[in-house]
């Protein structure tokens, strides 16, 4: 079974999520190819991932911004030679893969966290409150894969890079712009430590004043609950949860977050969870390895000073 993996990148740099999807693809037992919709420089990075046999690069302008309307037909056209298509369960992968699945008339398996057999996979449902083991009966597989559930394939490969042409503009959509949030901090989904703040942080300034020093001290990425994002304390790309980003760092510090099931869905696979909350009955304490009941406005500065 030959698998095609969609590379995740920002136009210049390959995302480490790609390496995790390669690991999942390799578990299917056959050769692994990677498709880069983007520049040659990204394809060259993908070629170095251990275990990748071939990299396909589509450098056409029509797919440079990963528009699903243009990427999906390209992928569907390539799938004659493949048995499985795997995309990372990122906003890009989630946008493209179902469109590919429909073009191939197959059901997609979303957010796969385990490969149990050539056609059998595990995936969380109901905000991670249940894990389904699912077998596909379709002739081809289309999966989105949760990067945090698989080890990242290492470097050291030297795959052949081959250009694929013909990616056309379907004339349905155009890219207008990206308002990217800039940060010097580690990227949220791959960071080793994450400090997240919730509604208790009051406003954007307070959020930054309280959370940033702790994140700096720990070399951490910053996450947030939905309530904190909705209230404008921080950008949408920081939301952790069922419908935000999924993180599984070595250390997750939840500050002033109650622990709604939708939030837990995004962080409960973290290795060590620390919760700071003034309410001893907050549900976050049920998943925390270490809990401290207290007022975050005194606890966090003290913690920063003592770490």
């Amino acid at each position: 079974m030959t698998a095609l993996v969609l590379a995740e990148h920002d136009g210049a740099k390959l995302s480490a999520a790609t390496n995790a999807i390669v690991t999942a693809a390799a578990k299917l037992g056959g050769p692994v190819h990677v498709l880069v919709c983007g520049p040659q420089a990204v394809a060259d990075q993908a070629a170095k991932i251990a275990g990748v046999e071939k990299v396909l690069v589509a450098a056409d302008a029509a797919v440079a911004n990963q528009l699903a309307e243009n990427v999906a037909p390209l992928v569907a056209g390539l799938m004659g030679a493949y048995d499985a298509f795997l995309a990372p369960a990122t906003t890009t992968g989630k946008n493209v893969a179902p469109r590919v699945a429909a073009l191939l008339d197959v059901m997609q398996l979303s957010e796969v966290i385990g490969v149990e057999g050539p056609k059998t996979f595990t995936r969380p449902i109901y905000a991670g409150n249940a894990i389904a083991t699912v077998e596909s009966s379709d002739p081809k597989l289309v999966l989105t894969v949760r990067a945090t559930a698989f080890d990242k394939a290492g470097e050291g490969g030297s795959a052949a890079v081959e250009a694929v042409g013909g990616a056309a503009d379907a004339g349905l959509s155009s890219f207008v712009g990206l308002e990217a949030s800039k940060s010097e901090r580690p990227e949220l989904t791959s960071a080793g430590t994450v400090v997240s703040g919730g509604r208790a942080l009051k406003d954007a300034d307070t959020f930054a004043q309280v959370i940033a020093p702790l994140a700096d001290k720990l070399g951490a990425a910053i996450g947030a609950s939905r309530a904190a994002v909705d209230a404008g304390y921080i950008g949408n790309d920081h939301q952790v949860g069922q419908t935000g980003k999924i993180v599984a760092p070595s250390l997750y510090v939840a500050v002033g977050i109650s622990g709604a099931i939708q939030h837990l869905a995004g962080m409960k696979d973290s290795k060590v969870i620390v919760a700071i909350n003034k309410d001893p009955d907050a549900p976050i304490f049920q998943v925390a390895d270490v809990g401290l009941v207290g007022d975050l406005f005194t606890v966090v500065p003290e913690l920063v000073a003592k770490l």
């Binding site: 979303s110 699912v134 077998e135 959509s173």
Partner: protein, 249 residues
Amino acid sequence: MKILVPVKRVIDYNLKPRVKADGTGVDLANVKMSMNPFDEIAVEEALRLKEKGAATEVVAVSIGPAKAQETLRTALAMGADRAILVETDAEVEPLAVAKILQAIVAEEAPGMVVMGKQAIDDDSNQTGQMLAALLGWGQGTFASKVDVTGDSVAVTREVDAGLETVSLKLPAIVTTDLRLNEPRYASLPNIMKAKSKPLAVKKPEDLGVDIAPRLKVLKVSEPPVRKAGVMVGSVDELVAKLKEMGAVA
């Protein structure tokens, strides 16, 4: 322009789902069911487009059991003009839902389909993208802003890197993210009025759609439970504990 809004009846988001002891699924007997939260946002957005004059009619559609009529009545009470139930007791997978919606689109000829990005039961996040593929339409997924002008729609999307804006030719599919709007509550008079709004009932067979599942659920199990943690009484204890666990240097 007519807007079609697919709404799904799901377990209420406030409830913690319980896995059935026999591992066949999640226990939904006597559990409160509600409209999928993202679909409430979709209904709200369609209503706002109508109120702004960008749309003329809002049609809600649900695929599910007879009880899904309640979900459709909620949409009608919010302000949708009429509703369609495609009734089946079977579990319908996203691909089959998309095919049913494709058939409804063929009948209704909407200028836009506004739907949720994700159903909070299956967490698939597929149906809108699949419907867009089947129709050959553009897709604005995970929308936090929707701007209709003439024959196109600008959609601001919540993506991992921040906020992306795309422009789509109409007709198009939009799937909603959490921050698109704050759905309204239905007022009592509107709930009363909704009872007499038209609600048509069809069957998947009437639409010629094969809903046979492609996936077989072999087992549904509880996620691994985390070991009980410890509570500490002070910041000093917290720091000591984290050092002991090797979580900080």
